[in-house]
Assembly symmetry: C2
């Protein structure tokens, strides 16, 4: 059965002190319904992507909680968790639920409220995505991605300026996105001079701690103006880096995207816009290579040259939303927000960051240091 | 697409000090594969039901974690959470994933390790299933179910002996189940004399804290000896009791089972064996009524008379495994274990607790005090 997205919405991302997950959920859900031109009575099931409410707040049972909160009481509701890929996994589960024929129209909610906790509490909570060994060793995600960056830079003789260029591009895109957490334009020098967090990664190469929510309406009804989900694929890998076959790629991204391209019947060259999981600068470089957009070792110089920057790209533009670095990274919401950005691009509703004539979009959402990867390919109908 | 179960397995349930969730997962997964007569290379996706690993252990990302642990690295893997209904929800998600055609054969793992923590820590963690108001008021689940019991007893003039008879029946069934946590036979007097936990609920009317795991193999391949999933339905309700329309039933169970009977094309009278969510004695009474087996106010006296007890029932037998009370309640595993028990009954492999000629079985798995209900109906092929 063919599955479509008819509506999507994101909140402002950032340090949203004055609001709660419930308020954020209402905002995106009601806006998504409006975009889809349906009432909530049409929603037959709810899929909630969230990672941290249990660890940080002691609250689980988020399917029923948000079904009640959104006035959807008595419909089936599910909490899907897969670390920072929770949102993408929720979209996948919702897509298959619709494809099964059991539900005609469902809603996906990705939501995370992170800034109410101290930074060290959040860092520890996020390690709930990592392996036992990494947690016990006191590793944090900047450290883990720094290991990937070091291995990659040594193998491919890549400069720190190439890494820095990821943040420069994504902050430029974020400057055009009213919902982005950071709208300041950066230079490579500014990034290079920012504090070292985990060598070689600097503060301005690390995605922030963010509050935010995103929602989608997914349906089997082929209504005018819908975007088609032409592939929804997931792959996994070892939780910890020590067990991986490679430190210079994320094999789960390769596996998921290979399957997705095959399912969609397209190749990387057919993709016009992509939202990829740039939790750290190195992650976007790995993503562009693992997704087949660039040969190994070459994505950094291409980003530095402006090849995937809005207004400078000849074809593919990456992370028009500002990515995780510029737009923010409310972990359970990120995979859903990526898809909202892509559908806005495909529908020509991306405002100042519109990629002209975008017809096919791709999203890549990663959990942990690459133990889960979710790839969606979307097409204008 | 028709969906079948070809294999299932449970571990011993109990206080399993000498083992870990990883070891439990291996045991049930490998036994389920053996029952299904397939190798793990056939497994295309993994669905993990678990509630407490995040809150108690700070570990999330359980899909990828168990995919790696079980040697399934690189297949899609999902962590589904819905409090004590996490297992049932994982089965539902897996069923729809297979029905969608995206995956042919998938595995479901329900797993929970609870006894490594102090009782008060577990009680608080379990309140992650409840509403904000209930958590802030310091309510615990025995207290919440005691409210339901009180309201029910007042409305229907039901005796405490009727409630106690649920535990007597379920401990009798558990005495026949080598995997049950408690295999001691009880009398009504023993139950009545046990410590009061939350008036009117006594210690021997409360399900225990338990470690354990259960696994299923779900497939679209119609192999000889498979059990067919003829309905998989979910419904939700308010998280908190204060917002409910009724305190003498669980409306989510009614909604889910109404849909399930319609989908299956059968009625309550057609069910031969049922595993219901007897987290507290009152819960089984409510379940038998909400599922349509008995009129409101009458299930307690029927249980007391032995109507759903093995060897005394003329037709329906309930909780042959011993239920949550007798067999134990490792929360994320319970919904999966219920289905393993029913498929063993339908295949004539339930040993001393076999219900002769059982052809149709039903399971009811509840999250929180009734905010989530999952109903499966299974049929011999």
């Amino acid at each position: 059965m063919t599955v479509f997205i008819t509506g999507g919405s994101v909140t402002k991302f950032g340090e949203l002190w004055g609001t709660s997950p419930r308020v954020l959920a209402h905002e995106v859900f009601e806006n998504a319904l409006t975009n889809a031109k349906i009432t909530k009575a049409k929603i037959e099931s709810l899929y909630v992507g969230n990672m941290l409410a249990g660890i940080l707040g002691g609250q689980e049972h988020l399917g029923a909680l948000f079904a009640e909160e959104l006035g959807l009481t008595d419909i089936p509701a599910f909490h899907i968790e897969g670390a920072c890929a929770s949102g993408g996994l929720a979209v996948h589960a919702a897509t298959l639920a619709v494809a099964s024929g059991q539900y005609k129209t469902v809603a996906v909610l990705g939501v995370e409220k992170m800034t109410d906790y101290k930074p060290e509490v959040i860092s520890t909570a996020l390690m709930g995505a990592g392996s036992d060994e990494e947690r016990m060793a006191g590793a944090t995600f900047p450290g883990l991605y720094a290991i990937l960056a070091r291995a990659y830079m040594e193998k491919y003789k890549v400069s720190e300026r190439q890494l820095a260029s990821v943040s420069v591009k994504n902050h430029f895109h974020a400057s055009l996105n009213p919902n982005a957490q950071f709208r300041n334009v950066l230079t490579i020098d500014t990034v290079m001079k920012s504090s070292l967090v985990a060598d070689p990664l600097k503060l301005l190469e690390c995605s922030p701690v963010t509050d935010g929510a995103a929602a989608l309406i997914i349906t089997s009804a082929d209504v005018k103006g819908a975007v088609e989900i032409i592939a929804s694929e997931v792959a996994t890998d070892t939780l910890g880096l020590a067990q991986r076959g490679s430190l210079t790629s994320l094999p789960a991204t390769q596996t998921a995207s290979d399957k997705a391209y095959r399912k969609a019947g397209i190749g990387p060259k057919d993709v016009d816009v992509a939202e990829v999981h740039d939790c750290f600068s190195i992650a976007e470089i790995l993503a562009l290579e693992d997704l087949g957009f660039y040969a190994k070792g070459t994505a950094g110089q291409s980003i530095l040259k402006g090849e995937v920057t809005l207004g400078r790209s000849k074809h593919l533009v990456v992370n028009t939303s500002g990515g995780l670095k510029g737009a923010g990274h409310p972990v359970g919401a990120t995979g859903v927000k990526q898809i909202v950005e892509v559908i806005n691009q495909l529908k020509g509703k991306a405002g100042k960051r519109q990629v002209k004539g975008a017809k096919i979009g791709l999203t890549q959402n990663v959990g942990g240091s690459g133990a889960t990867a979710v790839v969606h390919i979307l097409k204008n109908t």
